[in-house]
Amino acid sequence: MSLNRALREECRVPPNPERIEETMRIARMAMQRSGKRAPRSYSYFIIIQLKRAMPASWILQTLLVLASAVFGPLFIAVHYPAVANDPRFVAPLVGCLSIYIAMSGVYLMMRSFRCNMSEIEMSTMVSTRRQLLAKLAILGMRDIAIFGAVIVAVKQTSQMRVATIAGCIMMPFLLANCIGLTLGHNAPSGSHPMRIATLGIALGLALLLAYSFAPNILNLFSSRAGGAICAALLLLCVIRIGKLNAKLSSMNPVAEVD
């Protein structure tokens, strides 16, 4: 309970020695904290998350993906114009890329469990909810940058509509996230890179098979039904993140009340 809240409640309820004693204790604690502690900084936490929690290998990985996402279609457009203009080749390509992006995100979200950092992170000032939000924000920015570049590159080199490209990216991306987050939620410590990689490869193969046996699936992406499916998958992702947050919070019962 914060001092302000304790003092407010003190005014409302009839005075009793127990309550006064508790308010005094809270006041002592507040005084102790304000005199002794350095100011808290969430912005510093975000900067450090970006700088330190994002490993160099991951940054390199992202740059490689970004480069291949931009230069890949350009290379194909110059050397194999027929392929570049054919959505049957482009769509599975960006789909697999989006699955890869989703899986690397899931890996990053679950990294603290794998590296035995979760326990120590939970005992700190920044609540698990805030830590999760910070990771989501950073990943979100990364994904927007990559997908933006992919959409621009594909649009420049093919005749696909933006809505279709976005659908080709978002549907596999959201599906992979849903499955990956479910995996992480059920067995956070078991989110081994190999397991995530296997899941990613399996999803990629499933996507390629889907495009091979049902090429008309592409029409779904730019349709209203495709939009509805994406919305449903997005909702599922939000639910999964909510559940993950609830699970992490239950593992960390000292609630953040300040």
Partner: protein, 296 residues
Amino acid sequence: MALELIDVSKRYRDKVAVDRVCLNIDSGIWGLLGANGAGKTTLIRMAVGILKPSSGRIRYDGIDISTLGSAYRNLLGYLPQTFGFYPEFTVRAYLEYMSALKGLSRTAAKGKIEALLHELQLEEVQGRHIRKLSGGVKRRVGMAQALLNDPDILILDEPTSGLDPGERIRLRQILAEFARHRIVLISTHIVSDIESIANQNAIMKDGRIVALGTTSALIEKMDGKVWQATCPIDQMAKYKSRVRIVNLHAKDDSTTAVRYVCSEAAIPGSSRVQPTLEDLYFWLFREEDRAEENGI
């Protein structure tokens, strides 16, 4: 300044990991002793606030820690049993990361990191990857992160596991210096680690506190029960079932020096010796075993 554990229990389906533990931990070094699986880590995790008790309350200065929330975390330094780190972290990067998680500003973090690197003799390794460091240095890095926020309560779970004797002594010195006007709770199964530095000890078995008190008061209970004798090796077998042997040391090919715990001299030529906390540990666990055998 006091951390109170009032009737704290933790149950996992059929298993009771911690059973109605009551402790009033005030400033100074507290040792939480117990064999592996005694419930120490579960109790520690509840005290840290990362595990919810099935029943009971944990209060700091009379206020429930769940009410204190982040204020409690602000007062807390914690070194878990499994010291984790991201593989790409250098010592300095790790401390920067942890100081951000502990809510320190950049300026405050910089000053504190410099001071701790110096105090814990980590200056030379600050740029090295943690994964490449020895167990002892890793533990010191763990200690440094626990001390980053200048905590009032320092909780260490098996801090000396994997350390060589020199590192153990150094860690003890650090703790002894730090413990003034603070609560330091150390969980361990190595009695000698806390015997010389702990002001108070709690011994756990099967989720319960089976002994509690200052080191000297606990040792006093063993007065007259610890013996030393020299015994022919071929006769040792018959004594093994009657006494609790703390230590055996071969003197020559035919005789061995034996230190044992028993309410009376069981080996001819035994002489009483000064008891230690380790003797009590053995004694308590033997008593418990007997009670279990007798179905008490």
